[in-house]
């Protein structure tokens, strides 16, 4: 047989078709028999091996739950907040999707025709979900309009058509008005399946399906490709795995018969691309392969059980599987030791090449041991690797590798590349295929050394390894692997398994490439005032140090006028209204600035005064808009209105903050904590006089928020100084607050950090007393103090431990009592303080500088918008100028210099650095200055003629 379906619920391949009604088939209205057949078939399969028949063929429950989480995410795309909702999973099996749904929905209901499956689900999930073994006909006892979301993943695809039609009507009944059904189905070329076949996948015509769901009382909201780490669609056959979203309408459903009729292939339907295969043949073949796979893993007992199960079909099956059967029985008879001996030889041979060519990789392989990595057999008997899920095509890895390589080489970006870097080695089939199919250098990054080691043990990869250009294992090594001219090819299987790492690798690759090869003009817009104003300066410095073309938009000069408006009115609403008009004017100033000097990326600091209108206009001109939202999203909620105008929002909080900002319409939302600028925040040598002015045994720098007042009121008896604004002038603060609570400059507070023995860093809260127990983000002060080499006591924050090791690099407190105890402890322990501060400084310099943050930010932007920025650059004025200036090397060099300075591609830009009398002018400079003066003179003469001189 050419292809080997595994499990209809697992999508590891499969035969799909729509239903064929044999002569004398069951009558439409009488499909109880079919329901009983379904129940019996699925009970049998569950009894045999629920993970194989209900999941992706995973070897353990953990992997099954993991895949359930993944698939639930796909099914619930865009639904938003589900916490108060009721979910119904039809065809829930053993509850693969129910388990993750429990954490997301108020009520979770599972329905399956197999009581074996329901029983198992109950055993696995306990009382969490409501579970029903259905009759295969309807959804009783569920009441009308009782469910918000219905989903069915890998279930109705194998149901007979009339059963599916009946379920559609039932979905309509149980769904509340406005409810939604999410179904995973196959759409495309219709083909025939036996009506009583409960295993084969059915494929419907997209148009017919849409008509049928409308008849069932739904509107088709969308239909999307289902993309999983393994092949689920059969494009070559025109059969596509899809997820559809159906919105319940108020139209009453038509009859089941009518809906069924709409779904069935008509007389003019295309003939089935393949002859129908009997469900029994399929089950036989799948279980045989499963037995082989288990045997390959060395799971002899289960392999034998699977073989036994398969053989129950031998008598009724019509397919000829003698070769396969022989191979499996032979494997089951072989001793595991002989396999290991063979793999040892292979490993030694492969490793010799790795040691010779990639010694760093070889050393990383020695310490490899990952029990999750398994070598198994594919459907066609080839060796493949699994790590919870298949890292190679489970059926035909060799052919799949060839197809992948062919497709990759057809991509334009790949055609233009000098060399190719593949993310993911797996068993190496695709690597072999690609390196054979191209003359470009091929390199590989494998996230997991155990996977590579497994491949080296199981396959003869000598030729492949010899052909490889570069090889890296793990993320750190990958960073150093990329070269100019490379193009990155991410394998879906590895990407699915190492999603976050793939995303980081992508960022590193495109980000590094972007930083190297893109030269957008990046404008940085600050606020009128406030904490993000100094961050703007740090950001600018970092952008410059990264050799970006930077434009500074400092609008702090507009602040006095903004506040002056306050003096004209009593009515605060009127003040706000006029101030908003003023901010709109400031926004317009920015737009005019872009009209004069274009930009490619706009990075807005928090509270930057730019309106949605202007952001929209900028985006329409192709400018990428970025917000660094360095605020507490709960306290400052302007993101609700503005997030949708930004292509990227960088936040200092994770989780809910990111979710909500994403839901508010932001393009990409990425966590990017605050940092330090080592040029500003640094250890200082202070004079005795400075120490006296700025120093104290204990200090706090910051504004007088509620919780700080509440905590520091009890510090009156300590040698404690407070620096900052908004503190009460009353007792006890009158003696603690320095210099009348004026606003400090960064250079001043760095002196305080340096001159203080214990710096207290208490994150602000307007609502809570003392330490906010829900506090998450880490304030800039934490990083700045660390960079200044200062010792700090900082309140506990949930995200702090990601940045510093509490107790080692910073000392944390949970409440005011602890704070006072720690102050008392550390006051007389200068050496301990120093050691902690030194470690904090080392950490912050290695991981938390603005240079690193801005590099990360740009990596994300350039990774996501590389092509956009590249196209923009190529069609921009500078490219035209460079192309045209190419025959003149000196002019080109001058253009390059002007370009790097951030000048515009205009004559004034080319000569902006020429100051007469400061050194010899080259001939090119003389010519450009000649042109500059010609234009000036002509304009002057024209103005004279027109009487415009002033």
């Amino acid at each position: 047989m050419a292809s080997t379906p595994v499990s209809p619920r697992a999508y590891a391949g499969g035969r799909v078709g729509s239903e064929m009604i044999p002569k004398g088939a069951t009558k439409m209205k009488d499909f109880t028999k079919i329901a009983e057949q379904m129940k019996a078939d699925w009970n049998r399969r569950i009894s045999h091996d629920y993970r194989f028949w209900m999941s992706d063929g995973h070897r353990d429950d953990a992997a099954m739950w993991q895949s359930g989480e993944r698939d639930l995410d796909i099914m619930l795309a865009d639904i938003g907040d589900t916490r108060g909702l009721t979910l119904l999973d039809v065809g829930c099996g053993v509850g693969r999707l129910l388990k993750p749904a429990l954490a997301r929905f108020a009520r979770v209901i599972g329905f399956d025709v197999s009581d074996e499956a329901i029983g198992k689900a109950r055993a696995l999930l306990g009382d969490g979900p409501e579970l029903y073994a259905g009759n295969g006909v309807d959804l009783r006892p569920l009441g009308d309009r009782s469910v918000d979301v219905v989903l069915s993943f890998a279930a109705i695809t194998s149901m007979p058509t009339e059963v599916m039609a009946a379920y559609l009507c039932e979905f309509h009944r149980v769904l509340k008005p406005g409810g939604v059904a999410r179904l995973q189905i196959y759409l495309g070329t219709e083909s025939a399946v036996e009506q009583n076949d409960t295993l084969q996948l059915r494929c419907y015509s997209e148009a017919k399906f849409e008509r049928a769901v409308r008849a069932a009382g739904f509107e088709l909201e969308w239909s999307r490709d289902l993309v999983l780490p393994f092949k689920v669609s059969f494009e070559e056959l025109g059969i596509l795995a899809r997820v559809v979203s159906l919105a319940r309408s108020e139209v009453a459903p038509a009859s089941v018969e009518e809906i069924t009729a709409l779904l069935r292939p008509g007389p003019g339907a295309a003939p089935s691309p393949r002859p129908p295969i009997a469900g029994v043949d399929l089950e036989y073949w799948m279980s045989l392969n499963y037995a082989g796979e288990l045997a390959e893993r060395g799971d002899i007992e289960r392999a034998r059980a699977a073989l036994e199960y398969a053989l129950t079909f031998q008598r009724v099956a019509t397919i000829d599987v003698r070769d396969l059967l022989e191979r499996i029985t032979s494997r089951l008879g072989a001793t595991p030791a002989s396999g290991r001996s063979s793999s040892t030889d292979l490993y030694a041979a492969n490793l010799a090449i790795v040691e010779q060519r990639f010694p760093m990789v070889a050393s990383s392989l020695r310490a490899t041991d990952d029990p999750n990595v398994m070598v198994v057999s594919s459907g066609d008997g080839a060796v493949i690797i699994e790590q919870g899920q298949c890292l190679d095509h489970p059926q035909k890895p060799l052919a799949s590798g060839e197809v992948w390589a062919k497709r990759v080489l057809q991509e334009g970006r790949v055609k233009d590349a000098a060399d190719l870097v593949i993310f993911g080695f797996g068993a190496g089939y695709h690597v072999e295929a690609l390196s054979r199919a191209t003359s470009k250098g091929v390199s590989v990054i494998e996230p997991n050394p155990a996977v590579l080691a497994a491949a080296l043990r199981s396959r003869d990869l000598r030729e492949c390894l010899t052909r490889l250009d570069r090889l890296a294992v793990g993320e750190e090594a990958a960073r150093a692997l990329f070269r100019e001219g490379d193009e990155l090819c991410l394998r879906p299987q590895t990407q699915a398994l190492h999603g976050e790492m793939a995303s980081r690798i992508r960022s590193i690759f495109y980000g590094t490439r972007g930083l190297r090869s893109l030269h957008p003009t990046v404008a940085v817009l600050g606020p009128l005032q406030g904490g993000s104003l100094p961050v703007m300066a740090y950001t600018l410095r970092s952008l410059q140090s990264l050799k970006q073309r930077v434009r500074e938009w400092d609008v702090s000069g507009f602040a006095p006028s903004f506040h002056h408006i306050d003096k004209f009115f009593y009515d605060k609403m009127r003040v706000t209204g006029v101030q908003n008009m003023y901010l709109e004017t400031v926004s317009q100033v920015l737009l005019e600035a872009v009209n004069e000097k274009s930009i490619d990326v706009l990075i807005c600091m928090a509270q930057a005064p730019v309106s949605g209108r202007v952001l929209t206009e900028l985006r329409s001109r192709g400018v990428i808009t970025v917000l660094w939202f360095m605020e507490d999203y709960l306290r400052f909620t302007y993101w609700k209105d503005l997030a949708k105008y930004y292509d990227f929002v960088f936040t200092i909080q994770r989780g809910r903050c990111m979710e909500l900002i994403r839901a508010a319409g932001a393009g990409e939302v990425v966590y990017l904590p605050m940092a330090c600028d080592p040029g500003v925040h640094r250890p200082l040598s202070l004079s005795a006089e400075e120490r006296k002015q700025w120093g104290s045994p204990i200090s706090f720098v910051g504004a007088g928020y509620h919780n700080r007042q509440q905590v520091f009121a009890s510090f009156a008896d300590l040698p404690f100084k407070i620096w900052g604004t908004e503190w009460p002038e009353c007792k006890p603060f009158d003696r603690m607050v320095q210099e009348n609570g004026r606003r400090l400059l960064p250079a001043e507070y760095v002196k305080i950090f340096n001159a203080t023995d214990i710096n207290i860093n208490l994150h602000s809260s307007s609502e809570r007393d003392g330490v906010d127990p829900t506090g998450d983000f880490v304030n800039p002060r934490t990083f700045e103090l660390a960079a200044a080499g200062a010792f700090q006591l900082v309140d506990e924050r949930s995200l702090l431990a990601e940045c510093f090791e509490p107790g080692k690099e910073v000392v944390t407190f949970r409440n005011p009592r602890e704070l006072k105890e720690l102050v008392a402890y550390y006051l007389n322990r200068p050496h301990e303080r120093q050691a902690i501060a030194d470690r904090a400084r080392a950490r912050v310099l290695s991981e938390h500088t603005y240079d690193q943050r801005i590099r990360q930010m740009l990596s994300v932007i350039y990774s996501s918008k590389f092509e956009h920025l590249k196209r923009r650059e190529e069609s921009g004025g500078w490219s035209k100028l460079f192309r045209r200036a190419a025959p003149h090397p000196e002019l080109t060099a001058r253009c390059q210099a002007a370009f790097e300075r951030g000048d515009e591609p205009i004559l004034d830009g080319l000569v902006s650095d020429v100051v007469l009398g400061k050194g010899k002018l080259s001939e090119t400079e003389q010519k450009l200055m000649f042109l500059y003066h010609v234009r000036k003179q002509m304009i002057r003469m024209k103005s004279e003629e027109m009487g415009l001189n002033k």
Partner: protein, 546 residues
């Protein structure tokens, strides 16, 4: 006259942007050719003036630079810059290949200076640029040119720029007129135009140029209408309104306002040689300080010229004998050419009736005197253009100049420069020793003293330079004193505006120090201080004599 480069063989004359400038260069061109008969003269002009240059005698080759195209390319920016760059490269290469041995650039613009630097001609009579792009003016006469057009100093100058230009090129022999060939065909065209005008009057044929380069220099149409009505109605004159097509917007309302068959509009109907032929056929041209005024001089037709607003008769007056120049007496004039004027009071100092009478007088013949009472000397001075005994153009007042406070200074400076730069001899009476204290030029003694101190410091500097034991610090100390002294000299030039020209000459000379040898530089500086001291002394002498 002291001459820097009397012998020239392959000359480039740069005079790019204005027709008047080109015509004003004609005595110089003729002089160079007369003094170097085998020399080749090439003129570099803006493309649009290329054709008219073929009508100028003594020019062997005309090279046109297309500044319009260059500016249009630059307006496109981006790749347009490279188009312009390549054009310049090609243009410079073309000029380099011609191997000029001498260049005279009397345009003070930055771009011509840079262009000449790029071409790299060894000997220069006017503006060029140094390695760092700084302006360089090698010749004293060219520096005087720059000094004289420096706005603060303009009124102290009485040398026509044609002569200053000529002297910059070391030309002594020159015709006392501007030159332009008028071909028979042009004359025929002019005759046809005049014939077709079918004037009914039989009086003098008067050409009127109403347009001007700047609005503030343009007499009002109402005044022109009044003038023309007087001329046509009272004096039977026939009037032709000349000018360019662009000026029709001014001229047509004048024609309409006159409503006379004896007024014809030729503006826009002539090329420059045809314009010259029209003016040649006229008895007199009434004009402001314009290109056609110089065309008229070249065509031999006398002019009655009003020097309004920023125009200054001594500076750019008609370069031939017997023209009438009207210069308003007004506190703000001549004003800065680069500033606009919203209240052109100077226009009202000249009445249309006066212009009509002077026009008729001049049409009748050379005017050596003005009938008493015709001109109010508090409002306007009428001059007659002439040449002095040394061949330099001058203006002879036909009316009292008692209300011109700077007349004495102007006369003194004229002698100073002709003596000091031109090496001309003046009568002993004019060279007597210091005059009475009351006649001294205020501040000149102070300036002379500063110059003397400079000479002493330079002597000290030279001594220190020669002494190898001397520390750099000592040298720096003297340099510091010199810097502060130079600053003081410049300040005195500003404090006493009548000393502006000598102080400015000092500044320009200093800007042109060249070389890297310390001793040589010190010697050059010494000469500059010496020049200043000598000029201060002479200025005082000549001031007393006038």
């Amino acid at each position: 006259m002291k001459r820097r480069y009397p012998h020239k063989t392959n000359i480039l004359l740069v005079n790019i942007t204005r027709l008047g400038d080109m015509l004003q260069a004609t005595p110089t061109i003729a002089g160079m050719k007369a003094e170097n008969p085998d020399a080749k003269v090439t003129v570099l002009v803006e493309k649009q003036f290329e054709e008219v240059c073929h009508s100028i005698p003594n020019i062997d080759e005309v090279v046109g630079i297309d500044l319009g195209m260059t500016v249009r390319s630059l307006a496109r920016e981006q790749d347009g810059i490279v188009d312009a760059y390549e054009y310049v490269t090609e243009f410079v290469d073309t000029l380099r290949a011609k191997n000029f041995d001498y260049c005279l650039n009397m345009s003070s613009s930055g771009y011509t200076a840079l262009l000449l630097k790029l071409i790299g001609i060894a000997r220069n009579g006017g503006w060029t640029a140094d390695e760092e792009g700084h302006r360089v003016i090698e010749s004293d006469w060219a520096r005087l040119f720059a000094t004289s057009v420096f706005h603060q100093n303009r009124q102290y100058n009485s040398l026509n720029l044609v002569d200053v230009f000529r002297c910059s090129a070391d030309v002594i022999q020159h015709p006392p007129k501007l030159m332009l060939n008028i071909e028979p065909a042009a004359r025929e065209h002019a005759e046809t135009l005049i014939r077709e005008a079918a004037f009914t009057n039989t009086g003098p044929l008067v050409a009127i140029q109403a347009g001007a380069s700047q609005e503030k220099r343009q007499w009002s149409p109402a005044h022109f209408i009044e003038l023309i009505k007087t001329l046509t109605n009272e004096h039977q004159a026939r009037v032709v309104l000349v000018g360019s097509k662009k000026e029709l917007s001014i001229i047509e309302p004048i024609k309409a306002g006159c409503d006379s068959p004896n007024v014809a509009v030729f503006a826009g109907k002539t090329t420059i040689p045809q314009l010259a032929a029209v003016i040649e056929a006229c008895d007199v041209l009434v004009t402001g300080d314009t290109g056609p005024m110089h065309v008229s001089v070249a065509a031999g037709t006398p002019v009655v010229a009003m020097f309004l607003a920023s125009a200054y008769g001594y500076e750019t007056g008609p370069y031939s004998e017997g023209n009438l120049v009207l210069q308003p007496v007004i506190g703000c004039g001549p004003c800065n050419p680069n500033k606009p004027c919203s209240q052109t009071d100077c226009h009202e100092t000249i009445a249309p009736g006066l212009v009509a009478k002077l026009t008729m007088l001049r049409a009748a013949g050379d005017v050596r005197s003005i009938p008493p009472g015709l001109v109010d000397p508090r409002r306007v001075i009428v001059y007659r253009s002439c040449f002095d005994s040394h061949g330099f153009c001058d203006l002879q007042p036909l009316t009292s100049n008692e209300f011109d406070p700077l007349a004495r200074f102007r006369a003194a400076y004229r002698k100073l420069w002709l003596d000091d730069l031109g090496g001309l001899e003046f009568a002993p009476a004019e060279r007597r020793a210091l005059a009475l204290a009351a006649d001294e030029v205020a501040g000149v003694e102070q300036l002379g003293e500063l110059a003397g101190r400079g000479e002493a410091l330079i002597d000290e500097l030279k001594r220190l330079i020669k002494d190898v034991r001397v520390s750099g610090r000592a040298l720096a100390g003297v340099n510091e004193q010199l810097s502060s002294l130079d600053r003081r000299i410049e300040e005195v030039g500003y404090n006493f505006s009548h000393l502006g020209p000598v102080a400015r000459m000092f500044v320009f000379a200093k800007e042109n120090l060249s070389g890297t040898d310390a001793l040589d530089l010190a010697s050059q500086m010494g000469t500059i201080y010496g020049d200043l001291r000598r000029r201060c002394r002479k200025l005082n002498e000549y001031f007393a004599t006038v």
